[in-house]
Symmetry: D2
């Protein structure tokens, strides 16, 4: 299976979902290998580098894309199967950005308290051991954390002619910041405009749930993925996702976004009730009951302009459903991906 | 090690944290085996039983206790190590309660929409296989779920003379409804009144994170635990928990409560920053950074009058701290518990 | 009409709603003149006095009461008509309390940012001109604000055996902190325990909507009120308030409490839909429509452990209802009060 | 003073802020008289008309504009002084839209409860008496409400290349839905793109605070306004608005947007602290204190994708500030407007 490689030039990055001309046209079934710059535009490289003392990047969360998917029309389902995520540099950084993060006043939770101090941490990748070493200022120890690469942003052009910055998550995907967006996962997004116009970026070498301080271990990434499309006419009894859905070999997942956090959670839960209903032929109340007893609810981010929360159902806890999600596209792409690595 | 058994009579249950005379006095180091009634007072036994068509119980979430801990004074830390949780009946139920649950209007999120229909599900315990079988109304299949017993409520008398119903979680513990409150876990609570006056109940044979529909698989439970006390004077550099802390062999956990859900999350995160700071001698910003990259954030409940969210740090991801939490009480109780089973 | 005067001794103040023995028994129809201490227990008198450098009071928001109302039973409606509020001192204070207020991290919105500085402002009452003069640190001017006395706290013992601190508002009233709790207003509260056990305190010489910094112009107050009772059996088609209702000559008002603020707002709106429905014989949707076009929505507090928001309907905008609220008790007490002044 | 009249054709309406080519170029100081269609595109005219049984409009909240303001550059302040709002039809409607409004599950607060029934109310304008008569389904009376025209939407193109639907409010203005956006008010908005590109629409013949059911008395409107510009270089010690500011003869007002509602409120309060600080030369704490005692906090909407709350300070309560807001543009435009009517 052929893989098309894309490494954008600095001028080619996009900073919004929607509102940008396509970088390239791709066909359903095609494999891509995409280089993405880190959230800070690569400008922070040492502990002395802060957003306030380095040249301002053209924007944060530069996106590789958008890609126009041939034949994609509003109401279709775009399936992006992440095959492999590999760090594209041997260092990554996390940085405290003034008035940003979960435990400080912010632009969206405006307070009179001054900002927390800025500080940057550099993580050194040991490719062989697949670990990340970080030097702390205090405590006298160096933490060595497992490498667990993921993408902060995967999204399509929004509906209703909207254009959103790549810092915002929503029903179009975007800056979801969930550790579940990793190799082995298929991401389902409703297509809102002709060609879908998806893009991705904001690689994280690892991230805790919630992304508490506002930034993960931010690093340039090489992402291998396979693109597919489920046409609206093929959906049958399955509806197009009202909010992003994820699937891996072991879980069905839905991602709700919004504020307050309970509204993000509600969105994830209602979407999962809908999905269980469709997969198993349940009524609403039975699906509600099942989810209540088997669901996991890992948070994604509680720091972005909209928060993101997941409903996550382990497939092993339930019987095998009669049909598969979206006609079995995850299994099919999983299989196709084997010919890639 | 001797175990004191308590099986309250119907009149002995408590329905509040605080405001109730002690059921018994216990010493630090003592083991207890406590029978607790289910959240519905045992009144729902078949799918035809609904809260609206069965005799009203004296209250919901009946508590076994409170227990007066000898020597406990405000500012001390009560440590409750859960040794074993065993279902005390072979059926358990979950029921949709009108205007209660995460995906409907409620008393606290008041709307004009009518309530969802009532429905009760009965779960049959297979003790040998340790599974729970439930018959659904729709879908034509019977789900068989793993037994994973936990306690919905563990708490002490609140500070400031307050008395709270056993339906509410807070900094005193109470109706936290987290699946982490299970065998092997030590729960740390700040003592607010002389004797601490702890109680427990609301057994769940299993529960999903968030407890979406409002009720778990509710069942009578036999809980074996060991009680211990860390005196304020022995805390050293560790502060008494501002909100409940949990510890098992593999994790440090903090439980934040409140509304909106981001405030519950913030409370859990700030408490974990404090804990990591103390364990590792870090400054605030380094602890904030570490938590951001290693923390898990499983939700507990998004349905009670206050929500509950956890910060959960895997011990394996970090170096071994110089000292142990609260002087190593978890390991000590874990060891003591071996002589019990 | 005779007025019973009560000026509690320091030891007689209550600091909770519920959990306190009655200070006195009163009959429906009786008038009272109550002296209440300020929120800080009278401990802050000059700009140099801060909570951190003055002796800690036994509690904040000392309550005058509770009063046992003869014949009051759960389900009845207690009507408290505020006849007159007069400052009981010639100075009052507002003070920034660390980690308290609307524009800082707090106990309930926990953050890592340090507290704002403490500062105390003293307001000097000019009784003749009915103004309050305050000296500011900056700006070089002295603001002179109209005296507009109100009570921060009016409440009854909560339901379900709960005891709540006088810092918390809820369906039992309590620390609502609304400027509408002023002379001329009748406050309706559902009775939860035999005797109702109401108390009041937390006088404000004036307060902005939201009580942004956390404290109003806090001062000792002399409150003249008339107590009345509407028995459950007399309610007819009117339901007992699910959350506090207020009435003055010109408005019907409901006070919702909770978090997030939209939930407090929703509670106020649903209760007003219910009230309009009852007053005018409307269905839910027509009442919803009317409220949407005529309602005012002034905030009360956005700083306490629960927030409070009001729905406020000007009587002049609507036709005269067939009957009066709670059998016309407001007009009756208004009339009775004329014989008092 | 000359007035340019604009009555867009059906194809000329805009449905977003940003992303639309200018309809016309205007100069600072110019007066405009703009016809705007109602929120439903004029499609609902009788009580039998519901969104579900009438032809779908091209969008909701059609905007008249955008207007390119000559010389406007990012960082400047656009001042729009509303001189006169006159109903452009003699009927207006309010309608319950499924899954929209404050007291039902919605797209953003997703629940499993079914939608409330649809219903449309028609309001008949009596131009002479300036009243609106509505027939209710229940209750047997016709309410006659004062005409109080306002605009739901006034906004500019957003920053960061974003395009937002005309249903959303934000720091760029947009669907604020505040009754304060009425004749006599000057609206200040930060310019984000060259030419500012402002538009307006969504006329309301009246609206309650909060817009509880989701729609006001929606009607076509003729708006007379004067456009002005304060260049960044002329701002002096006054900062460009971080969120919309309003001024009328008697009040300074700031409009915060966001979710949860306390975050919208915080945004309004922090912006007002900033404004008072600048107007009176105060430090943050003194401005915080003053606002706490004199501020009003009327809600705007609690139904749109972002909520809107106001901080409102009566000028009469404070001394006369040394300078005027934005160099006295409100007074100047107020004066200029006298030559228009």
């Amino acid at each position: 299976m052929e893989v098309v490689e894309v490494h954008p030039s600095v001028e080619q990055y996009a900073y919004t979902f929607g509102g940008v001309a396509p970088l390239m046209t791709v066909r359903p079934g095609q494999a891509l290998r995409l280089w993405s710059e880190d959230a800070f535009g690569g400008g922070l490289r040492s502990t002395g580098d802060l957003l306030s003392n380095t040249p301002a990047p053209p924007g944060l969360n530069p996106q590789t894309g958008p890609f126009l998917v041939e034949g994609a029309q509003p109401g279709d389902v775009l399936a992006l199967h992440l095959v492999d995520l590999e760090p594209a540099r041997d260092t990554a950084v996390s940085s405290l950005v003034p008035f940003f993060g979960g435990l400080t006043g912010t632009d969206t939770t405006a307070l009179l308290t001054p900002p927390l101090p800025e500080r940057t941490w550099v993580y050194h990748l040991d490719s062989a051991r697949r670990t990340l070493a970080v030097e702390l200022t205090s405590g006298g120890f160096s933490a060595e954390l497992p490498l667990e690469p993921m993408l902060g942003t995967v999204g399509v052009a929004p509906a209703a002619g909207e254009v959103r910055t790549s810092l915002v998550p929503g029903v179009f995907g975007g800056n979801l910041d969930t550790p579940q967006m990793r190799a082995g996962t298929t991401c389902y997004l409703r297509v809102n405009v002709d060609g879908a116009l998806f893009s991705l970026g904001d690689g994280h070498y690892r991230q805790g749930e919630g992304e508490t301080c506002g930034t993960a271990v931010e690093g340039a990434m090489t992402t291998t993925l396979v693109v597919d499309l489920v046409k609206a006419g093929e959906l049958g009894s399955t509806s197009a996702p009202a909010t992003p859905r994820l699937e891996d070999d072991d879980h069905w997942m839905t991602v709700g976004t919004g504020r307050p956090l309970e509204d993000a959670w509600r969105a994830s839960q209602v979407e999962m009730v809908r999905w269980l209903r469709e997969l198993f032929g349940l009524d609403d109340l039975d699906a509600y009951q099942l989810l209540s007893q088997v669901g996991l609810a890992p948070l994604a981010n509680v720091v972005d302009p909209a928060y993101a929360a997941l409903a996550k159902v382990p497939k092993a806890l339930l019987p095998r459903p009669a049909g598969s999600a979206f006609g079995g596209v995850h299994a099919r792409l999983r299989e196709a991906a084997r010919t890639l690595r």
